[in-house]
Symmetry: C3
């Protein structure tokens, strides 16, 4: 069985957006009981991560860390056509994920207890982001 | 064809644990000759990597590097409920992999000569880790 | 439906090599209209990334950034049997991807407008690199 779904996320600013429920809904609609859901983001300045979903301080600290690791406006960057956060957004994307394969069991995403799936917007301004979900089972 | 297997790894401490053989066993049991094995770890403070498997110094240097990149107890972290290694474990996980898709050919994992699949425990204390393997072919 | 293809990339030096077209060709040959193409690189000192494909300065800045993040010949590395770039190549691989799942729609790779798939050679000398493509649909 094969099913393709798509979701659009309107991001407000840089940060993480929980998309677990929307992806689970596409899996549910697919009718697939046991298989694989591959989530793919069609952008190079926003990415996907699986992260702890209980305490928001985890994702705040993650942002603090990455902001220090890849500073906006670092003079080493020559690609800044869209601003100080342009090149850092591409690097942050490459250091995380564009595609993640998730197990599907009993018609649901078989995630661990504290796992959430997040879209990570790396640009500081709002964007519309498209995520595709391929369900095979 | 579809098959799901699971393995549990009892980690002793922070470090890399070779799970190539256990995953290959699940692939063998699946009966799939040619397809895809997607390995997924159900945690946010341990991750998966494909790494050189010949010289242990590679994984020692990797640990040295990441320990310096994401220092335990860095005062920038506010999330430290479970200790100095709590937030670094989440970051190390996000910078590596939660899910890896491996080709299956002739009933075996089609890895390169020097590739091993490792579970990387990022917490300093022992943990029980669950890894699921989805085989499709 | 299942199809396996393989491509070989003769790298000249450290840097990114666009393999989008070669992978799309294998997808086309597979006859799969809608499904998943999983690209896997059989090495631990070269990796895969999805990156912006319009402005080459993005990939130049990416190289600059990673070269600073993981310096060749850093005295913290003990594994240097193959030279100053040996251990950095393994680390750069672990921080990026060995395997990426790409959606296939209408017989084509369903990438975003500015997305390209690149093989990233992390060694400074030329290498022959093998990439396998598993198409399921």
């Amino acid at each position: 069985m094969f099913h393709r779904g798509e979701l659009t996320v309107a991001t407000q600013r840089r940060g993480t957006y929980d998309i677990t429920r929307e992806v689970a809904k596409i899996v549910d609609e697919s009718g697939v009981r046991d298989g694989l859901a591959t989530v793919f983001i069609q952008h190079t300045s926003a990415s996907l991560i699986v992260c702890e979903n209980a305490d928001p301080s985890v994702r705040r600290d993650l942002e603090t860390f990455v902001k220090k690791l890849v500073p906006d406006g670092d003079p080493m960057f020559t690609h800044d056509a869209e601003g100080d956060d342009d090149m850092p957004a591409h690097i942050r994307t490459v250091l995380t994920q564009t595609s993640i394969g998730l197990p599907v069991a009993g018609g649901k995403l078989a995630l661990g207890t504290w796992q959430g799936l997040y879209l990570w917007e790396h640009r500081t301004s709002p964007h519309r982001r498209t995520v595709s979900v391929t369900v095979i089972g």
